[in-house]
Point group: C2
Chain length 225, copies 2
C-alpha cells in the first residue's frame, strides 16, 4: 500500500496537471486559482509550488502535456472509413461535432492557450512549434490522401493543411455560438472543396465512425505498478 517517494511525487504531478488542464479548459485560465487546482487534485497549493514554482509554471507544464497528446489523432485514424466523404465526415466528427466529450474540452483548452499566446510569448513559442509539427504531419497525410484519390487540391500540401485546419477551427468556433448553423454535411462540403473534389451531391453522409483515440483530459495518473 505504501508508495515510494518518487511514486507519490509522480502521482501528485500527474494529478495536478490533469486538474489544471481540466479547470483551465472549463473555467478559463485566469478564473482558476492555484488553490482550486490543488483542491481538485486532492492536494494543497504547497504541492503546486513545490512542483511548478508558480502558476505560470503550472500553465507551461500543462501546455507541454497538451502539446504532445492532441491532434496527433486528427488524420492518423481517419483511414478506417470506407468512402472518401465518410473520411471527411470522420475528420469533422473528431474536431467539432461532439459536445461534452474529451476532445471538446481539449479544444476549449486549445482556445484558452491560443488566447494566452496572443499576449504571452512563452506560450506563443510552444504553440508555434506545435503548429509547425502538426501541419507537417497533416500535410503528409493529405498528400498521400490526395494521390490515392485522384483529386487536385487548391494548394500544395503544406498550404492545404493550413487551409483545412483553419476551416475546421473556424467551423468549430461558429458551432459554439450557433450550433444549428454548422453540421457535418457543411463541413464535408467545405473540406471537399479545398481538397479539389467534385461537388458533393445531396445527403451523402453515412453514419459516422467515432474515432475514440483522443487521450483523456481528466485524471489519468500513471498506473501504479
Amino acid at each position: 500500500m505504501t508508495q515510494t517517494q518518487g511514486e507519490r511525487k509522480a502521482e501528485t504531478r500527474a494529478l495536478l496537471l490533469a486538474a489544471g488542464a481540466d479547470l483551465f479548459a472549463d473555467r478559463g485560465i485566469d478564473a482558476v486559482s492555484v488553490d482550486a487546482v490543488a483542491e481538485a487534485a486532492g492536494r494543497t497549493s504547497g504541492a503546486v509550488y513545490a512542483h511548478f514554482g508558480s502558476k505560470q509554471g503550472l500553465l507551461l507544464a500543462v501546455l507541454d502535456a497538451w502539446k504532445q497528446s492532441v491532434l496527433t489523432v486528427l488524420f492518423a485514424e481517419v483511414a478506417m472509413s470506407d468512402s472518401p466523404l465518410g473520411q471527411l465526415a470522420a475528420v469533422w466528427d473528431n474536431i467539432g461535432n461532439n459536445p461534452d466529450t474529451d476532445s471538446d474540452r481539449w479544444s476549449l483548452l486549445e482556445h484558452e492557450l491560443w488566447q494566452r499566446a496572443t499576449r504571452d510569448p512563452e506560450v506563443a513559442d510552444v504553440l508555434r512549434a506545435r503548429s509547425v509539427e502538426s501541419r507537417g504531419r497533416s500535410a503528409r497525410e493529405l498528400s498521400r490522401w490526395a494521390s490515392t484519390m485522384s483529386v487536385q487540391p487548391v494548394a500544395d500540401p503544406d498550404d492545404l493543411a493550413t487551409l483545412v485546419k483553419a476551416l475546421l477551427t473556424g467551423l468549430e468556433m461558429q458551432r459554439r455560438i450557433e450550433p444549428d448553423s454548422v453540421n457535418c454535411d457543411l463541413a464535408v462540403r467545405g473540406l471537399a472543396a479545398l481538397l479539389g473534389m467534385p461537388p458533393v451531391p445531396e445527403i451523402p453522409i453515412q453514419p459516422h465512425h467515432r474515432v475514440n483515440a483522443t487521450p483523456s483530459l481528466t485524471t489519468h495518473p500513471p498506473r501504479e505498478r
Copy 2:
C-alpha cells in the same frame, strides 16, 4: 468652454466605452481592472459605476457598441476592386492582413468576446444574434456575387457564408501564431475553392485596395457642438 451636464455625461460614457474596448482587446477582459478603464478614459471608477453599474455592465455596453460597428464592412466595400481575385484579396486584407490597425484590435476584441461567450450566456446571446445578422448580410452579398460571375459555390448562400467566415477566422488565428504560414495568396485560393471558382493560377494577386471604413476603436467622443 463649459458643457451642459448632458454633454459631459455623454462624453464620459463615450470615453469609457472606447477605453474599455481598447483595454479589453489589448490585455484581455479579466486582466483589466475597472480603475484601469476609468484612468484610461481620464475619469475614476466612480464614473464607471454611475454609468454601467458593474464591470459586467461595462462589458455588455462595450459589446453593444462593438455589435453595431464591425464587419458590416466585410463585403460592403469589396466591390470596388476590379478583378474577382482582387476582390477576394481585398476581403482577406480587411480581416487578417494588417497588424497594428484598428481592424486588428477589433478582431482581438472579437476573440475576447467569443471566449467570454463560451461561459457567459448573456454574451453568447448577443454574439449569436450578431452572427445571424452578419451571415445574412454576407449571404446576400455572396449570392449576388456568385450570380454575376458564373460560378457554382459549394453550398447555398447561407452555408457558404458560414464556410467563408470560418475559413477567414481560422486563417486569421493561424496568422497570429505563425504569420509566415498565412498569406494573401493562400487566403484567396481557399476562398476561391469555396466559391467554386476555377483553380487559381500562380501569383495572381494584384496590389490590394485597403478598405478604410472600419470604425475606429479608440476614442471617438461625440463631437461637441
